[in-house]
Amino acid sequence: MTAPATVTHTLLARELRVDTATGHPVLKGVSYEIAPGEVLALVGESGSGKTTAGLAALGHFRRGLIHTGGGVSVQSDDGEPVSVLEVGDRQRRSLRGSTVAYIPQDPAASLNPALRIGKQIGEVLETHGYGASAAERSTRIAEVLGEVGLPDDEAYRRRYPHELSGGQQQRVGIAMAFACRPNVVVLDEPTTGLDVTTQTLVLRTISALTTEHDTAALYITHDLAVVATIAHRVAVLRRGEVVECGSTEEVLRAPAHAYTRELVTAVPHLDGTGATDTSGSGRSTPGSSTPGATESGAAGASAADMEVAGDAEHTPVLSVSGLSVAYGEHRVLRDVSLDVRAGECLMLLGESGSGKTTLSQCVAGLGLPHAGTVSVSGTPLAASTQRRTAEQLRSVQYVFQSPYSSLNPRKTIAQSVELPLRTLTDLDAAARRERVTETLERVRLDPALAGRLPDELSGGQRQRAAIARGLVTTPDVLLCDEVTSALDVSVQATIVDLLCELRRELGMAMLFVTHNIALARHVADRIAVLRGGEVVESGTVGEVLDSPSHEYTRELLANTPRM
């Protein structure tokens, strides 16, 4: 994919400088330009300033940010460049939506739930005086709905946003943005939160529309695999500076800057390279035995751990059988059965709504009453933690998705990590403190940070602390619920590394719950694919990835963006 050769640029940002109110620089002279019909991806981790740089194209700065230098010019409809940051408020407002359009991250939050979708698109047209009559606007609404691949009939236009799926909502958002045929669209992570299959559809829609209408698109994202799918050129942002800019092919295949290389190598790959073997510099061969691990590989890992009983490979540590859960009429899990052996990692793969979190919470004792049994080392567990013994509670530990909410913001790291020891063991204070320090070292977190509050730590450090809390009681089963999804890609890689190493060191069984199939070879020995509350396919990682037997798995694999 190459950009059409042009001399003029539709969007041109020059030396953008933005500070916070306290004088801390957010953007330190960011420049980018986009030709008509071209998609430029603005890539960076959280805090890199990518959203600020992107929203500047709309002439918008978040509250508390001050524009200190540079400018953005956009080609208006009559072909003249307009300086977005210098024109008056009124003119800037009229530019937005008609010349420069914005597609936000969360489609559900950006649509008015009380208005029918046809009316919402119509409002955009009306505000910008598009079309001479209501009939003309109505035709345009039907046309643009068709363009984004939605039904254009009257009945569909009379629907409310809540009657649509997430992917449809996002396509309505795109339709609103493209309704007035803008010259520039700014997309702020528009596919984050969508399932991979839906993501593919939305990406295709965006691609087709930008090409067809010669629209310049600025695509803000942290996901390099998506970038590879959609963008012509990439600008990599780091701490408010563009460290590398070039064609997608160049930047992703042969990154010139060290930071870009780090980002690219941290992205997990379906074929198992990346994440585990490159991100850790000089660490003890992480991941080398994981790709394509077989039954014997898993057994070998557990046998290496002397504390695990000799016949560990025959009796599963965690065994779930016939598990069914229903919220009223809606059945979330239907007769699910799983086994995880000591030292083995089972990846529970599923998209939103598949019931994967419900399943892991049932195992942890946080879920609803359920039918079927969950047993650990042969002992069936009660459904609720209140009726489990301290020993049972100790043996199953759960690591939550977001380290931003799983640690009490008013407690120090040491206090949080110590918690399970206080409630589940009868160790005295000195022994507890020693255990905490030991565990923090084990998760590669400097024990000097133990006295800090979670707010004073980075996302990766927090997740390490949360993992330490799970490990401090030396569990037999560790449940990891989407533990990497709230983290930046480079941090994700180190956390995945860490979990692999810990599993090998401690020989515990691990249930790794995720929506990201690309992580499979990096963490898991076996995969169970969950869909609509049922396990549709399970087997070793090699089997499932190389020769998927269920159609849904094949679809997932086909739609997972690759670099």
């Binding site: 981790e45 959280s46 805090g47 959203t51 984050t192 939160g193 969508l194 399932d195 942290h222 599923g350 998209e351 939103s352 709504g353 598949s354 019931g355 994967k356 979190t357 419900t358 942890a364 004792g365 946080l366 933690t385 209140q386 489990r388 301290a390 509670l393 759960y398 939550f400 998705q401 977001s402 931003y404 909410s405 799983s406 640690l407 009490n408 913001p409 008013r410 407690k411 120090t412 206090q415 949080s416 918690l419 399970p420 409630t423 589940l424 509050l453 979670p454 707010d455 996302g459 809390r469 989407e482 999804s485 709230a486 983290l487 930046d488 929506h515």
Partner: protein, 293 residues
């Protein structure tokens, strides 16, 4: 121990605001007068609070005499302490009672929640002052009753705030984690929930203190609070109002003190509120949040 890590930060943030500094100064001045007054007064003026200093409503001394010929300034200096102690006790009672009930209702949900909150709705439907008047009319103007009645009428108001704040944090992952570790409910409320709702509770504390001062003073003014011949600001206003034109200090001094104190505590409350609202979120916004169940 968790409180020690949170309160200084909230207080320090609040106190960095200029209005908090003004509020604190005003409050400290009035509290200083009220606390030191009973000891310093007789030594300063040579009169005690109930002794005769001269003819009624005469301009002698610093602020003249009152209707019974007692020294107004001495009585003013002594008249704040009881008022303050009652107000503080009533606030503390209301806050503790309200926080406990509110957290319990918010965290437990279901039937207990309905029971507590509907019960407090009943109490809320009485105007606070009318309820106090009713109780005092039945039992008599006792100090403990004043504290009890004002404290109890504060409780449902505090409970609403505490419940709302608890509901906002009760499904946070760290609370679920504590539940997973089989922490008893009492400890979850005390250790996990309470430190995370101190912000709104501090605001309530300030607000309820302001109200308490007002109520105690009003009840004394109406003759149902602190009884004569005790020196008390509320009572003094009532005793001396007939001579407002001739000898205004007997009314002006206590009115001024109550006004300054109320404004002072209100300013502190406001700055606590704005400091707390800056940290009401339990974590950083997740910019990189991804698809999840």
């Amino acid at each position: 121990m968790t409180a020690t890590t949170t309160q200084p930060t909230l207080l320090r943030r609040a106190l960095s605001l200029p209005q908090a500094k003004i509020g604190l100064t005003l409050t400290v001045v009035v509290v200083g007068v009220a606390v030191l007054g009973p000891w310093v007064g007789p030594w300063l003026t040579g009169h005690d609070t109930t002794g005769f200093a001269g003819k009624p409503f005469q301009p002698g001394g610093i602020a003249g005499t009152d209707g019974l010929g007692r020294d107004v300034f001495t009585r003013f200096l002594s008249g704040g302490l009881t008022l303050l102690v009652y107000a503080v006790l009533a606030t503390a009672l209301g806050l503790v009672l309200g926080a406990v009930l509110g957290m319990l209702a918010g965290y437990s949900g279901g039937r207990l929640d309905s029971l507590i909150m509907r019960g407090s709705d009943v109490l809320l439907s009485f105007p606070q002052l009318v309820f106090a008047l009713l109780a005092i009319a039945m039992i008599g103007p006792e100090g403990w009753l004043l504290v009890l009645v004002i404290g109890v009428t504060h409780a449902p108001r505090v409970a609403r705030v505490a419940r709302q704040a608890t509901v906002a944090v009760k499904d946070a992952d760290f609370i679920r984690a504590a539940r997973m570790y089989a922490m008893p409910r009492r400890r979850i409320l005390l250790r996990e929930v309470l430190p995370n709702i101190t912000g709104p509770l501090m605001v309530e504390l300030g607000l309820r203190l302001t109200y308490s001062i007002g109520y105690v003073a009003s009840l004394s003014f109406l003759g149902l609070g602190i009884q004569p011949p005790t020196a008390d600001w509320g009572l003094m206003i009532n005793e001396n109002r007939i001579a407002l034109v001739v000898e205004p200090w007997g009314v002006l001094l206590p009115v001024l003190a109550i006004a300054v104190l109320t404004v002072g505590t209100n300013l502190i409350t406001d700055s606590l509120a704005s400091a707390a609202s800056g940290t009401s979120n339990t974590g950083k916004p997740n910019t990189a949040k991804e698809a999840s169940a």
